[in-house]
Amino acid sequence: MSDLFDLPFEDDPGGVEEPEPKGPLPTRRVFTVTELTVRVRDLLEERFFEVWVEGELSGVRLWNTGHLYFTLKDSSSLLKGLMFRSALRYLKFKPADGMRVVARGKISVYEPKGEYQIVCEHLEPQGLGALQLAFEQLKKRLQAEGLFDVAKKRPLPALPRKIGVVTSLDGAAIRDILKVLRRRYKNVHVVIRPTKVQGDGAAAEIAHGIRQIVTVPHVDVVIVGRGGGSMEDLWAFNEEPVARAISISPIPVISAVGHESDVTIADLVADLRAPTPSAAAELVVARKDDFSHRINRLHERLVSCAYARVQRLSRRVHELSGRRALAGYTTRVAMTQRRVDELTRRLEACELGRRLAKNRTALVAMDAKLHRLVAARAQRSGARLSAMAGRLDTLSPLAVLARGYAVCWNEDRTRAIRDAAVLSRGDTVHVTLSRGSIAAKVSDIE
């Protein structure tokens, strides 16, 4: 049988010519190269129908046919290998030179070259699991592209008009999210885009769902996620399409995948990572709590400012009423009093209504204080004030104004004009009406 090996078993590298099976040796059983090669192939395929072999990948090339060619080697031998596109499809990681792998497949012969090779059905990285490796690879690539940059993370909206959720309707995640939202705030508007969250096509569905939900008007934030599961279950959230969809979203995306310990690519790309779906919902409404608190505080400060102002004004009323001897001040007392009343009225008009009990209470309390203040003022001023008030009633034009009369003042408002003769054409006068006053120019004197 050793004679067989006299035949040119090894092809010229790069040689493509068909071996020509002819030879003038009729007494011996002479194979053509093809015949022999086929025999060898059958033998190998039968004997090594399914083998596992470990080695280091080198010369990895993806052909435009979609098939992958590579060499597996160890310290002293090498084995050619190929993986058809149909098998390659299921590979989560990307084979690369230098990677240590375990290949499963059958040994076959590539007849045109007379080379035996492993036709690989499955490839898995040694050491790291295939998924883990795929994760690391994608992570590295996206990181290099800057998809995880902290500078890219956007703050959550102060007050999302609508909250988008991309997840499965069957999972625990959606129920957890809705439960938290229901407990914390009755009045949320949620838009859910149901998708598969595991298995074939899940990543594409999630990615499409994200791209779609961000276009719904008034959706200001999106929660993307699912409940806990194995690494395989969570895998869709480690796939590139999901990462890309999150990264190009025009609105902030909160990822909420599995449990606290599960970190996915989606978590790394998202603007905010919530440890669980419930936590994502809490994060959204916590902002609302913050704001509610801040506004209440501001409102309290606002009211106390106004209250302080009213107090100061009120003190001024006392001062003025104590100096009634000064000519012309009685009117100003009355007018200041009117301004206090006006302020009170406007404060009352600004009352927040039934919306927030807290603020209403504050305002009502302030209002009551104001009234007490005015009453106290009246008491303290006592008889003197009431005497003055009596005189004001008769002297003050204000009571008259209410009936439609007006008071005409000189330009400086120091004197009331009683005689048209003191005015000249073109003079400016002020006319006090029952409500407000106007400035007027004298156009004629009659």
Binding site: A158, H189, V190, V191, I192, R193, Q212, R309, L343, R355
Partner: protein, 85 residues
Amino acid sequence: MSKAVDNTIKDFEAAIAELESVVRKLEEGGDLPLEESLKLYERGVTLSKFCHAKLEAAERKIELLNERGDLRPAPAGLAGDEPDR
């Protein structure tokens, strides 16, 4: 509440920022003329009302978005009309 007033407010966050500045002005500007501080106060109340209205504005609604981009109300069970467990 007057709708016209709300046109002067850009959005919720702008309203809070302005409210903060109004309150600060009022607190620091003890000598502001009465009219001015009254105006500030009223502006402040308008802003505060606006913010509260925004906080409370949304109505509870749960909708489903399908792959064609259509929105429809979520089934009652999902929307949480069932009692909490």
